[in-house]
């Protein structure tokens, strides 16, 4: 066997990677706050009125992170939370459309918002939809 596909399924993948990303963001934010303001896990726990081990477990993934606890952690770090849902940008098997060009003109702007081509090499635009064009 030259390669092995570790595939947990799209639903599990979405959940695991989303929760992992949230924790990574929290760790990154705390690390930045520690470097900038000296904020420690202990100080965070004291501000929240909980034991430091709970904060540690929440950050390590050993304790459930509820929306409430997420908001509390953001509050204790004096940071804003952003959350949004959006349509998936494109289909799998294609790279993101370029926004710059290797030739010497200004940045390419896509007209009508969509970019790239389908995986079969055909345009991703509806037949009656104008093709994106480069503006100089």
């Amino acid at each position: 066997m030259t390669s092995f596909q570790f595939d947990v399924g799209s639903r599990a993948r979405k959940a695991g990677r989303f929760i992992g990303r949230v924790r990574s963001e929290l760790l990154k934010a705390l690390s930045e706050k520690k470097a900038k303001d000296g904020l420690t896990q202990q100080a965070l726990a004291t501000k929240l009125g909980v034991h430091r081990s709970l904060v540690n477990r929440q950050l390590s993934g050993e304790s459930n992170l509820t929306l409430r606890s997420l908001a509390d952690l953001a509050w204790a770090m004096d940071m804003e939370l952003k959350f949004e849902l959006s349509e998936r940008p494109d289909t799998f098997g294609q790279n993101e459309g370029t926004t710059t060009s290797t030739i010497s003109h200004g940045q390419i702007r896509f007209i009508n918002g969509r970019s790239g081509t389908g995986s079969n090499g055909q345009s991703a635009h509806a037949p009656n939809e104008p093709e994106p064009r480069a503006e100089q």
């Binding site: 066997m1 390669s3 596909q5 929760i19 992992g20």
Partner: protein, 161 residues
């Protein structure tokens, strides 16, 4: 001299692939021995520790870990990876709340998993030494200690991003 292609050709290791998001490219490489891949299959079949700590399943945790590794995301030293013992040709451990993966870095950004186990089982039975010795023996048998084994133990020796 052993090469990664040679190890794959001989069936000693296989490349482990996971689905990346649109626009992402693999920036690091993750390999596994046949035994490690057997263990990954048990996760895909729903294996669980006696007392799960994480709020995601072990399979989801490992998918997230491999995804973060392969897609080049920053990994948190000590929380997500660490060496077992400060020595030349160190053995490294990748971590999730419920899972421990033991292996070594063939090159920078190029990990091979050899053993996977439950975190509580590893800690309760202090299996770090046993896994470390078994991996060193395997590397000697494969003849990779000289040219396919990262020497340093600094995080930046094994992960570049």
């Amino acid at each position: 001299m052993s090469t990664i292609d040679g190890l794959i050709r001989d069936g000693a290791i296989s490349k482990i692939e996971i689905e990346l998001a649109v626009g992402e490219q693999p920036l690091r490489l993750f390999y596994g021995t046949p035994g490690f891949i057997d263990w990954l299959n048990t996760l895909l079949q729903g294996a669980e520790p006696k007392h799960r700590l994480g709020d995601t399943t072990p399979a989801e945790q490992v998918d997230q870990l491999i995804y973060a590794f392969v897609s080049g995301k920053p990994l948190n030293y000590l929380r997500q990876f660490r060496f077992i013992r400060a020595e030349e040709n160190a053995v490294w451990e990748l971590k999730t709340p419920d899972v421990r993966i033991f292996g070594w870095f063939l090159k920078i950004d190029c990990f091979v998993g050899v053993f996977g186990d439950w975190a509580d089982h590893v800690k309760d039975h202090d299996l770090y030494r046993g896994y470390r010795i078994a991996i060193r023996r395997l590397r000697r048998e494969l003849g990779v200690e000289d040219n396919l084994c990262v020497k340093g133990t600094s995080p930046s020796d094994v992960i570049s991003v």
